[in-house]
């Protein structure tokens, strides 16, 4: 079973999370500051890290950088309500996902499961040519073809590039900034409405109900996430 490291200074929360995750069958290690988190992450070889950004000794951001220097394991940020900017910052530096306190435990468990699954899947099947996004939509990346209900969907170049960027890192929250960089390049970073407009196009073309999307999910004020079942 997978190993999870929790870096969280609030004892009530870390204790509750430990009990919760252990009841789900995970092996859990708790660290309550940045320094011990660093040691735990390097020595316990976790499959996933739950990280609180507000740590007593040093900002959690440093831990993200540290982990990313040697591993691409999923990192889920646990943060306070108002820290939009620190969330974006953490995501840009390589964190995969975030949850805003107070969060529901079922949501947390669902995210953990999704990240562990996709992480393994990507590792296993990097070379699969066709990827299924939903029951009706599939993408052939090398062939630059997108099918919906068996029919070809006509996408523009930018739309396709955007879709590819999302498919490359499924389930991960991708910030507007990151997507702008990937699809348009550094000169366009300030024009974030581009991403929104093209996301709207993609939803129109691929989703059954564009205003209640199934896999192209909006993270308000942060960015987008492609959910892979």
């Amino acid at each position: 079973m997978s190993t999870i490291v929790i870096v969280e200074d609030e004892e009530h929360i870390s204790k509750a999370l430990k009990i919760l995750l252990e009841s789900e069958g995970y092996t859990v290690f708790v660290a309550n500051d940045q320094k011990s988190g660093q040691i735990a992450c390097s020595s316990r070889c976790p499959d996933l890290v739950l990280l609180d950004l507000g740590l007593p000794d040093k900002d959690g951001i440093f831990l993200i950088q540290e982990i990313r220097s040697y591993s691409d394991i999923p990192i889920i940020i646990l943060s306070a309500r108002d820290g939009e900017n620190s969330k974006i910052n953490a995501l840009d530096l390589g964190a995969d996902d975030y949850l805003t306190k107070p969060f529901s435990t079922s949501e947390l468990l669902a995210r953990i499961r999704a990240h562990l699954r996709t992480h393994n899947k990507i590792v296993m099947a990097k070379n699969t040519s066709e990827i299924k996004l939903s029951d009706s939509v599939s993408v052939d990346i090398p062939g630059k073809l997108v099918y919906k209900n068996g029919e070809i969907v006509h996408l523009t170049k930018i739309e396709f590039r955007l879709l590819c960027a999302l498919i490359k890192e499924p389930n991960k929250v991708l910030t507007h900034r990151y997507l702008m960089l990937q699809v348009w390049g550094a000169n366009y970073v300030e024009h974030q409405h581009y991403v929104r407009i093209y996301m709207a196009h993609l939803r129109q073309k691929l989703e059954d109900d564009p205003s209640n999307p199934e896999f192209l999910i909006t993270e308000v004020g942060i960015g987008y996430r492609l959910i892979l079942k």
């Binding site: 996408l155 523009t156 929104r196 407009i197 939803r203 209640n212 308000v220 004020g221």
Partner: protein
């Protein structure tokens, strides 16, 4: 030396001194008073300084003159001495007290010797005591020393007793205001022996001094004076203390002294009056009655009044008729003593009688100082001077008299001589109206001569046949001069009236304009224009910026305004420049506008151009204008205060309703959490797990409600504190709606959700997080108030140049409630319903909408329930380029 304080006392005192400087801004002044030079003031001062230093107080020496006395010199060791400032004037170097250096150094206490010293020409202040005032004003304590003869009010007495006139004096107010006075006393014999030992002056001066100033009789008199001054001071302190302590406020209004002046008197009279007032420990007023003869002596009058003010007097100039003006003044200020100066004996008796009649309860006495009146010789000279001054009028009137005589001569045979006289009388009247009393008197005498010479037999000679003519001449002269007097008086009265009318008009004008102003700058502009147009005083205002402690020009009418003086006025809260004691060589007068002890602005006036400076009426108008300005500023301030109060009252009301709403809405989920967790605990103890599910679910549910409540409260406080910065971008309607539906997914299960985005729906230029909050709140509201299974419709479209986003339902609607009132904080459709929330949701929505320059309205929905519509302006999207694969 008489007194030496013991160490423990001193320590406590040092602490007290430190404390009090922390509290009050102004520093404390301690004076060392001596009867004569050489009693050991400097020595006492330095000894105390040393002891304070030992007690740990930061004390420095600003200026001490040791006169090469060895024991004093020795005392300077171990004390920090501020370097003196060198001023070069006419190749002579003066060493003066460096005020700025002391202020920069900011010690707790500074020792400055010889308070009455006169500074080198060109210094900021003429006198050292003014320097000391400035230092005190920044909050530094000062030790200083002076001799009894330096006190202004005693100056006359001292010079009479000792025959030595002392030039350097300090105003009594400084002495009275001093926080502490220590008398350094030395018996005359000891002093003389000290002098003989050469401890005071160098040997060659000793002998001279011994015969003049240091005569034993002198020293005894001086010692007595200083002891008496101290006693007076103590007496006053006791009285003050008693007043502070007594619960009934016994004012000393029964002992006010008014000195009435109507001529130019010697300063001794004022000193004497001040001393009497002090002896009764009463207030001292000094008033001038402005008689016609004093009208051209305004300079002298203002000098005398200034002098009286320096002795602590309240001064005034009375314009109305004697003795009623005195009565009014006395009544107004509630005084009981009246002093007059000796005018002419008869005159004084008359005045005393008049005053006694209308003021029966007032004690009246006369001071033996005679008024300086012009004697006959001086008057004649004055007369001719006046005539010469107006040579033209002199010639004109002479010519006119001759002309009339020439005209009348041929007529004298037909017209009776009595009527001829009438023509002359007419001329006299005309002259008095036109040229005043002196000319009229001259013309009447000349007329008589002409009449006598040409028309009275024997003609061609001044001799008179009929003795009756002499009666005619005498009557003519009397009538002429008398009517001239009357006319002149009338003229003066009418001139006064005109002047007063002008004053009234100016005041009326300014008052009318000031009544309408709404901010400070407008006040300054109004006053400035009126001063320059009506009073011919070029001026400009500098407004004080409280935050930076900086003065900024409001108008720019003058050149070469001295910034240093502006700063001086700002920090010392007193006027400076032209016509004042401080830097009076400056071109302009700098007057602070002080409201409730704060300098709001500084008015810089150019009075040098207008000769009007000495005109008391102008000065009075200026004072009135400034009083009006202050009043207006105070009014504006109080309006501002009232506004603030109203706002804080509103805030208070809001807070109150918030607490009420909160206490209800927090109590409900908290009660649920408490009871359920208790039951859960009981079940766990009894191991009855299968029955605990319901309670556990209730716990989860209540916690969620609390979380939502908290986030709403936080949102509202954040939005209202204006901290929020909009992070606007173009966002498709689907994304906004999608995100909201996604976040409310679980709660929407039981509802029928319809989304309708029009084909031509534009992008919304909004802050994504805030718009999500707005839409979530609206949908959440619909969920809360509609029964399960209801339809909730979210639609986005374009209407004209507006983008529309709306949430409608087919629930119960608004009922009797005015839908627009729902947006007020803490307003809910149904009071005390079981639906949670404190009525903040819609208020938050409204605030967000307003921040986006959008409108949020509530209206009945076409579906049958309620509908909330957001109407916002469309902002065009920059074009993007793309091609198909």
């Amino acid at each position: 030396m008489a007194q030496v304080n013991d160490g423990t006392m001193l320590n406590a005192k040092a602490k007290a001194m430190l404390e009090s400087t922390k509290e009050s801004k102004r520093g404390l002044l301690k004076l060392f008073l001596g009867a004569a030079p050489g009693v050991g003031k400097t020595y006492a001062m330095l000894t105390e300084a040393h002891e304070l230093r030992k007690a740990g107080l930061d004390i420095v020496v600003g200026y001490v003159e040791t006169h090469n006395r060895a024991d004093t010199q020795a005392l300077l060791d171990g004390l920090e001495i501020i370097k003196r400032k060198e001023i070069n004037v006419n190749n002579f170097t003066y060493h003066e007290l460096d005020v700025q250096e002391i202020i920069k150094r900011r010690p707790v206490t500074v020792v400055i010797d010889e308070m009455p010293h006169t500074n080198a020409p060109g210094s900021v202040h003429q006198k050292r005591w003014q320097d000391i005032e400035e230092i005190l004003n920044v909050g530094i304590n000062v030790f200083s020393a002076l001799n009894i003869q330096h006190l202004e009010s005693l100056n006359g007495v001292v010079s009479r007793v000792t025959n030595v006139y002392v030039n350097e004096t300090i105003p009594d107010t400084i002495f009275d205001k001093a926080d502490e006075v220590r008398l350094v006393d030395l018996p005359p014999d000891d002093l003389i022996s000290r002098l003989q030992c050469g401890k005071i002056y160098l040997p060659d001066i000793v002998k001279r001094a011994q015969h003049n100033y240091f005569k034993k009789s002198n020293l005894i008199a001086l010692r007595e004076l200083s002891l008496r001054a101290m006693t007076n001071r103590l007496d006053q302190q006791v009285k003050q203390q008693r007043q502070i302590n007594s619960t009934t406020t016994s004012t000393d209004t029964n002992f006010g002294l008014l000195l009435v002046l109507d001529g130019i008197v010697s300063k001794d009279a004022i000193r004497e009056a001040s001393r009497i007032a002090k002896a009764f420990s009463s207030s001292f007023h000094c008033a001038y009655i402005l008689t016609p003869s004093l009208r051209n002596k305004k300079k002298e009058i203002s000098d005398i009044l200034n002098f009286a003010e320096s002795l602590g007097a309240q001064t005034a100039i009375l314009n109305t008729e004697f003795p009623y003006c005195v009565k009014d003044y006395i009544k107004e200020h509630n005084l009981s003593l009246l002093a007059l100066t000796q005018y002419k004996e008869k005159d004084t008796v008359k005045k005393l009688k008049q005053l006694n009649e209308i003021l029966p309860n007032i004690t009246i006495f006369t001071l033996p100082y005679s008024v300086h009146l012009p004697d006959l010789k001086e008057r004649v000279i004055n007369f001719f001077k006046n005539c010469l001054k107006s040579t033209n009028t002199f010639l004109a009137t002479t010519a006119l008299t001759f002309l009339i005589t020439l005209l009348l001569v041929p007529l004298s045979h037909y017209i009776h001589q009595t009527n001829l006289v009438m023509f002359y009388l007419l001329l006299v009247l005309f002259t008095s109206v036109k040229f005043g009393i002196y000319m009229a008197s001259y013309v009447s005498i000349l007329s008589i001569l002409c009449f006598d010479l040409t028309m009275v037999t024997p003609r061609g000679s001044f001799a008179v046949h009929d003795i009756q003519y002499l009666i005619t001449f005498a009557t003519f002269l009397v009538i002429g001069i008398f009517s001239a007097r009357l006319v002149t008086h009338l003229r003066q009265v009418s001139k006064q009236t005109r002047e007063q009318e002008k004053q009234t008009k100016i005041m009326y004008n300014i008052a009318k304009k000031l009544a309408q102003v709404i901010d400070d700058v407008e006040v300054y502009n109004t006053v400035s224009t009126n001063l320059s147009s009506f009073l011919d005083i070029p001026n400009e205002f500098w407004e004080i910026d409280e935050q930076n402690d900086e003065a900024n020009r409001v108008q720019t009418n003058l050149k070469g305004v001295d910034k240093a003086l502006i700063n001086f006025v700002m920090s010392n809260k007193q006027e400076a420049g032209f016509g004042t004691n401080t830097l009076n060589k400056s071109k302009y007068l700098y007057a602070p506008v002080i409201v409730s002890d704060k300098v709001h602005a500084i008015c810089v006036m150019d009075l040098s151009k207008s000769v009007q400076y000495t005109s008391t009426s102008t000065f009075q108008i200026l004072q009135a204008v400034f009083a009006l300005t202050r009043q207006t500023l105070a009014r504006l301030e109080s309006v501002e205060d009232a506004k603030q109060t109203l706002m804080s009252m509103e805030a208070e009301r809001l807070r109150h309703s918030l607490i009420q709403a909160l206490s209800h809405d927090l109590k409900t989920p908290l009660t649920a959490i408490m009871t359920n967790s208790e039951i859960l605990y009981k079940h766990i103890k009894e191991k009855a797990f299968e029955t605990s599910e319901e309670e556990a679910l209730a716990l989860v549910d209540s916690s969620k409600r609390l979380v939502q409540l908290m986030s709403n409260i936080l949102d509202m406080s954040k939005l209202q504190s204006n901290e929020v910065k909009l992070n606007q971008d173009w966002i498709p309607a689907e994304e906004i709606i999608g995100a909201t539906l996604h976040s409310l997914k679980e709660r929407l299960h039981d509802y029928n959700i319809k989304v309708d985005v029009a084909r031509d729906c534009p992008l919304f230029y909004v802050d994504p997080i805030l718009i999500d909050r707005l839409l979530s709140n609206l949908v959440d509201n619909a969920i809360k108030y509609c029964p399960k299974g209801s339809t909730i419709k979210i639609s986005a479209s374009k209407r004209g140049d507006k983008a529309i986003l709306s949430v409608s339902d087919n629930g119960p609607g608004f009922g009797q409630v005015n839908p627009q009132r729902l947006f007020d904080p803490f307003k809910r459709g149904i009071k005390e319903s079981k639906v949670t929330g404190i009525g903040l949701g819609l208020a938050i929505c409204k605030t967000i909408a307003r921040a986006h320059n959008a409108d949020l309205v509530a209206m009945p929905s076409t579906l049958g329930g309620a509908s909330f519509v957001l109407i916002m302006p469309i902002v065009d999207v920059p074009y993007t380029e793309d091609t198909f694969l």
